[in-house]
């Protein structure tokens, strides 16, 4: 009996010890609430387009501070349909391109790491030539702290999407995403984490005056797989990292958006979420509660 108690005590200590030393993702993701987010095919809708009143009827409300989801969260799928078909703002429609993807997002944290889990059903392939031969699928999310990036609070990733960058009509191949007045030192940047299916690689970068796909220290790993036509990608990210990493603190919410490069696509030919708030034990569209 004594031995048994001693063994239990040792086991308990060991369990607690390992818990602290090796933070683990939720053992059962089904207990973590999932938020469904529609990612739409955005066509050519850079900052320059969404802020131009003669093109985008919502430019006026945008100037007043309205968010993209305030007007479009209920119709992101139909917008994607209009755009993918070439009826609106897509000069180069790809026949068979999925107009939208509905993804489930789950988040949790353990005081040290943020765990993000994305899952979605693989849409039918368009059959078009592969733009990225190495990767059938890529998933990236961006975080921004404090609305320092113009439009980050209202439109998620949109603040980094500009006319003239690579894959945009007339864009320069060497010009990547950027943000207005982007500067790591001034905190005007998006933190960017990406997972790639084929290379099975992860990238921890940022977007300031340009897009940089390395240098971040927060991302620990990302694992993704497709099973029965459903993709699941899980990210493990330290709450704090180094330069180019947004430091996450419990009680705060951050600007959050993500994109899926489906069908071996690159650049703008992705599916994008509108802008959401990720709360760390705080109010948000998606909330990461402490495990």
């Amino acid at each position: 009996m004594k031995n048994a108690i001693a063994m239990s005590a040792i086991g308990l200590v060991a369990a607690l010890g390992s818990g602290a030393a090796f933070a683990a993702a939720p053992a059962d993701w089904s207990k973590v609430p999932a938020v469904e987010v529609t990612l739409l095919y955005p066509g050519v809708s850079p900052v320059e387009w969404i802020t131009k009143g003669t093109e985008h009827g919502g430019a006026r409300v945008l100037r007043r501070g309205e968010t993209c989801i305030g007007c479009h969260s209920e119709e992101a799928d139909s917008m994607g349909t209009l755009i993918a078909s070439g009826k609106k703002i897509e000069p180069n429609p790809i026949p068979g391109k999925a107009p939208f993807i509905k993804a489930k997002v789950q988040a949790a944290h353990d005081g040290e790491h943020l765990y993000l889990r994305f899952s979605w059903t693989q849409p039918a392939a368009s059959g078009a030539a592969k733009m990225d031969a190495k990767n059938a699928v890529k998933l990236a999310y961006m975080l921004e702290d404090g609305d320092k990036v113009e439009l980050a609070g209202q439109g998620g990733c949109w603040g980094s999407c500009h006319a003239g960058v690579r894959t945009m009509p007339g864009g320069a191949d060497d010009k990547t995403k950027y943000v207005k007045d982007g500067s790591l030192d001034a905190g005007v940047f998006y933190d960017l984490n990406q997972w790639r299916s084929g290379e099975n690689a992860v990238f921890d970068g940022y977007i300031a005056d340009k897009r940089v796909m390395e240098g971040g220290q927060a991302l620990v790993k990302a694992v993704g797989a497709q099973k029965d036509g459903v993709w699941t990608v899980e990210f493990t990210r330290r709450l704090s990292g180094g330069k180019g990493d947004v430091t996450l603190a419990p009680g705060k919410a951050y600007n959050f958006g993500f994109a899926i490069h489906d069908d071996s696509s690159v650049g703008r030919y992705h599916h994008v979420s509108l802008g959401y708030k990720l709360g760390i034990d705080a109010e948000g569209d998606i909330v990461a509660k402490k495990l």
Binding site: K52, G53, T54, G57, G58, A59, R60, V61, R64, E66, G70, C71, H72, S73, E74, E75
Partner: protein, 203 residues
């Protein structure tokens, strides 16, 4: 003209004046009054009939300038064809309903007759070249009247926000708060927006 002719003319005018100024000895006051009323009705009725005849879509599109350009675009919009079967025709939006404003508009529109005569917009190219200016004139008029013609049918108060799309709800909420008027946002609702519009046009 000879001096004699001038004298004759003056004499004729004088005689006419005397005739009009002289009280009638032949017709009773009642008959004169009745005749006056009858004549008034005929003239007034005729005038109004003529004015109403120019206030129809048939009249508006009898000019190829209207028929071939703006009318074709309007036919593709919801003000022409919709599930409820209500149609707003040209004058519903472009001519005020009340008499005073209608008269003012009609007098202004008479300038268009001159334009028709000299062929200001008699080709699609000429129309396109002038389209922005014409549209701006109409936007200015609508803005000036707080979109009176829109409001003959629509009002913020009678809208059922629940039946509107999310973005329409938001926009109308803003319109209410900022006391905006329909045409502020709804340019191009019944015709294609002109090329060359500026951000100021959308303000």
């Amino acid at each position: 003209m000879a001096p004699q002719d001038g004298d004759n003319n003056q004499r004729e005018v004088g005689r006419l004046r005397a005739l009009l100024g002289r009280p009638s000895t032949r017709f009773s006051l009642g008959s004169l009054l009745l005749a006056g009323i009858a004549l008034g009705i005929i003239l007034w009725g005729g005038f109004n009939t003529a004015m109403e005849a120019t206030n129809t879509e048939t009249f508006c599109i009898s000019c190829h300038e209207m028929h071939d350009n703006v009318y074709q675009e309007y036919k593709k919009t919801i003000h022409y064809s919709n599930r409820t079967g209500v149609r707003a025709t040209c004058p519903d939006c472009h001519v005020p309903k009340d008499w005073t404003h209608k008269m003012i508009r009609k007098v202004q529109a008479s300038k268009e007759l001159w334009g028709k005569l000299i062929g200001t917009i008699d080709t699609p190219e000429k129309f396109e070249a002038k389209r922005l200016e014409l549209a701006r004139n109409e936007w200015k008029r609508m803005k000036g009247s707080d979109s009176r013609e829109c409001r003959n049918c629509h009002s913020l108060d009678s809208m059922n926000a629940d039946a509107q799309k999310q973005r329409a709800r938001k926009q109308h909420e803003m319109a209410r708060e900022e006391k905006m008027t329909c045409i502020d946002c709804h340019k191009g609702i019944a015709h294609r927006k002109p090329e060359g519009m500026t951000e100021e046009d959308e303000e």
